[in-house]
């Protein structure tokens, strides 16, 4: 009956826990002397004379951030956050049972003001399987609230804390096995705005990285389960921003206009990997390193965000375009999903960035002229064909394939994809005596155009074909294609033949 003795102490409805919680969380306020009996329940913390009024906190789903706080006085701020275990998309075709704060990964963004008294309500959805709690790094007190918020499914816990220190803080579930709770998505950010507020910007966004450990490899479809061994070995299958591959891509990309200021609240839930947070093509004008309240560095390319840590980055957009957000540990971006986008719209700023000014062949600086390089390649090609005559045929296949592409971009509108043309208007290429009779004439028709009366397969045409603006390689490709398609049989048309015709015409 030793076990029953334990229960007697718990039967007093949570008295010990409440007393303990209030003493730990409010050492300054609940300054009861030793020997006095502290009051029980919510009144134990006494009354904070600074607090004015009461508000319900606005919570937002990522990547959105609640509006800046304009209040000039601290208030009692009620935060209602619900833990929801739900199957969500990890990548296309890949589902995962995420454990979430508020239904999203990362969890709802919480914004409070320094000095606020936060009355925190943590609800654990009745359909959930697991107990959960919350450790807010913004809380001063053992466990960051975890000890006071441990909650069974279908129950709710309440605790209060004063936001003593401003800054951008991570919150997360701290129930054992904590790594698993975090690896399943249980983290988010809470911003404690300094009393004076933060400088005004045009856009604020919420981006949080996390690593995930699925039984299947990256991209393996179906409902994936948590893989403990991968998690312990710190070998994630996914490293993503905002809880899923592609959560900040395409229509879901972050948006801004040229000449606007952007502030990103960047967090890292981990549980294992530090983020080398980088926006390709942007320089952070300033970074509040580690989520502190002083801009600690200007002109930063990449800032490191550790698991359970944060950073605030700010920059002004100068040039329109799409800016890729990555963890610059690049295999995570390329192979594991750590990739987002910021789309900046507005007029070009060519002085800041010109776009591509030159695009030409570069043959290296080995001192070889272009002609001799080409001659050498040609020689190699001849030798290769000599060694294996099938290669010659292969090169025709390649020409055909490329020619088809040219045809379907440039020629098909008149001559049709079937090569039949349109009777009386555009002559046919399919089984065309006119086309096949004279290779040079066909080349000329493309590079210089063709007009006036002609007879094709005994039918008269009298129209105008303008010169087609394609290069010599493309002329060779498309003519090889049309002369060997739709029942036509001919040899290949070489670039040399095209060049020759072009040179003759120049005289």
């Amino acid at each position: 009956m030793k076990t029953n003795a334990h229960f007697i102490s718990t039967l007093r409805p949570g008295a010990a826990a409440l007393l303990l919680g209030s003493l730990l969380a409010f050492p300054a306020i609940a300054a009861e002397g030793p020997g006095t009996t502290p009051p029980k329940g919510p009144m134990a913390k006494g009354v904070d004379p600074e607090i004015v009024g009461e508000e319900k906190a606005v919570l937002t789903s990522p990547p959105l951030v609640p509006p800046p706080i304009t209040r000039k006085t601290p208030t009692k701020l009620v935060v209602n956050l619900e833990v929801i275990e739900k199957v969500k998309r990890m990548a296309d075709g890949v589902d995962y049972l995420f454990w979430t704060f508020g239904g999203d990964v990362p969890g709802s963004f919480i914004r409070v003001r320094q000095g606020d008294l936060i009355e925190f309500h943590l609800g654990n959805n009745p359909a959930n399987k697991m107990p959960h709690n919350i450790d807010l790094h913004a809380v001063t007190g053992p466990g960051g609230g975890a000890a006071s918020s441990f909650t069974a499914p279908g129950h709710q816990s309440q605790f209060s804390f004063k936001a003593l220190n401003p800054g951008l803080y991570v919150y997360h579930c701290a129930t054992a096995p904590v790594g698993m709770h975090v690896a399943n998505g249980m983290y988010g950010l809470i911003l404690v705005e300094p009393k004076e507020g933060l400088p005004k910007v045009d856009h604020e966004y919420y981006v949080m990285q996390g690593d995930f450990y699925t039984a299947g490899a990256f991209g393996e479809e179906g409902l994936q389960s948590f893989d403990q061994a991968k998690a312990v070995n710190e070998q994630p299958s996914y490293v993503v921003f905002n809880g899923a591959v592609g959560s900040l891509v395409g229509d879901r990309a972050l948006k801004a206009k040229v000449n606007e200021t952007v502030r990103l609240y960047v967090g890292n839930g981990g549980p294992n990997l530090s983020s080398s947070f980088h926006v390709i093509g942007e320089i952070f004008d300033q970074v509040y390193q580690e989520g502190g309240t002083i801009p600690t560095q200007k002109n930063v390319q990449t800032t490191i965000v550790p698991p359970g840590g944060s950073a605030i980055v700010e920059f002004k957009t100068d040039v329109p375009g799409t800016y890729i957000i990555v963890d610059h540990a690049l295999f995570r971006a390329f192979n594991k999903g750590a990739l987002g986008m910021l789309k900046v719209e507005g007029p070009e700023n060519l002085l800041a960035y010109s776009g591509k000014e030159v695009d030409e062949t570069y043959l290296g600086s080995a001192g070889m002229s272009q002609d001799s390089k080409v001659a050498e390649l040609e020689q190699q090609k001849k030798e290769a064909i000599k060694a294996d005559p099938k290669i010659a045929g292969l090169s025709k296949d390649i020409l055909m394939e490329k020619g088809k592409r040219v045809f379907s971009q440039t020629c098909f509108a008149c001559h049709q994809m079937t090569g039949e043309g349109i009777p009386g208007v555009f002559p046919p290429l399919a089984k065309s005596d006119f086309l096949m009779a004279d290779k040079s004439r066909a080349i000329t028709a493309i590079i210089k155009g063709l007009s006036g009366p002609i007879k094709v397969n005994d039918k008269d045409f009298n129209g105008v074909m303008p010169p087609v603006a394609i290069n010599d390689e493309q002329v060779a490709q498309v003519l090889t294609y049309v002369r060997n398609e739709w029942g036509n049989t001919g040899d290949i048309v070489t670039v040399d033949e095209v060049r020759k015709v072009r040179a003759e015409g120049a005289h």
């Binding site: 076990t3 003795a5 334990h6 229960f7 102490s9 718990t10 039967l11 949570g14 010990a16 303990l20 275990e85 739900k86 199957v87 049972l97 009745p126 359909a127 959930n128 399987k129 697991m130 107990p131 709690n133 450790d135 053992p142 466990g143 975890a146 000890a147 441990f150 909650t151 069974a152 499914p153 279908g154 129950h155 701290a174 129930t175 054992a176 096995p177 904590v178 698993m180 409902l223 994936q224 389960s225 948590f226 403990q228 312990v232």
Partner: protein, 256 residues
């Protein structure tokens, strides 16, 4: 309405016929190594041979109990002994209704109610040591930790969401000693469910309490890689004796 009642009844009959109800099965004596251990706790807890019900108690069985013991009916139970959620899946004090079946394990029951049921059956709730010892037995061998298929079956439950409708009790694969559903159906009450946290000594409380949270959860833990055991301990620790939860039920034990 009539139809769904009929289906529930049919399911109940089928379940009973197919499963033959719960039986008390002997569990051999063994040594339980507690997951969490304070300085003054035993390193090894010897567990004597005991009897454990092969399946969790069902709605149908619990209905018999509340009929015989009206003080445990939904409208009569004292709030001190069961919170507002008590038997909320039933349609009335002595009717199951259409939202549950007689063959499903009974959930939304408090520790007090579970304890009373076990006593009514002439038994008791298993201790955590007994329950964990029984739950460690594999499908085909005594030590489930050495049986990959058994471990995978456990992990699968944690990776899948709660089903909208619970399966009937006794449908899980039996372990070596004929016990079913210790994993993969519901959580289960134990007699000393919260002793890992509350010892009655405030200083000890904080020490133990902090062990469960964050990285400190691994301090004093016997086997940090046994995640399911952590989750069970976590779950038990989140409870109070009056709590009821949608996926928390129980089975009873008996001394031989």
């Amino acid at each position: 309405m009539r139809k769904s009642v009929f289906i529930s009844l049919a399911a109940a009959l089928l379940g009973a016929a197919a499963l033959g109800g719960s039986e008390l099965m002997p569990v051999p004596a063994g040594i339980y190594l507690p997951l969490f251990r304070g300085e003054n706790d035993l390193k090894e807890i010897p567990v004597a041979r005991f009897l454990l019900a092969s399946t969790a108690v069902t709605n149908g069985e619990f209905l018999d109990f509340v009929r015989a013991n009206p003080q445990w009916q939904r409208s009569r139970v004292k709030r001190l002994f069961a919170d507002d959620g008590y038997l909320q899946q039933w349609s009335g004090d002595t009717e199951l209704g259409s939202r549950c079946t007689a063959a499903q394990p009974v959930t939304w029951v408090s520790w007090f109610a579970a304890k009373a049921y076990a006593a009514w059956k002439g038994g008791r709730l298993p201790t955590t040591a007994e329950w964990e010892l029984a739950a460690g037995i594999g499908f085909t061998r005594e030590d489930g930790a050495k049986e990959p298929e058994f471990k995978q079956a456990i992990a699968r439950w944690y990776a899948s969401p709660s089903p909208a409708t619970l399966p009937a009790a006794g449908t899980g694969r039996a372990n070596l000693h004929g016990l079913r559903d210790l994993h993969g159906l519901i959580w289960e009450w134990t007699s000393d469910f919260n002793s890992a946290i509350v010892t009655g000594d405030a200083r000890g409380d904080t020490g133990l309490e902090r062990q469960l949270f964050c990285g400190a959860g691994s301090l004093g833990a016997k086997d940090t890689s046994n995640f399911p055991a952590f989750m069970r301990f976590g779950f038990r620790s989140s409870l109070k004796a009056s709590y009821t939860v949608h996926n928390l039920g129980f089975r009873y034990a008996k001394d031989p």
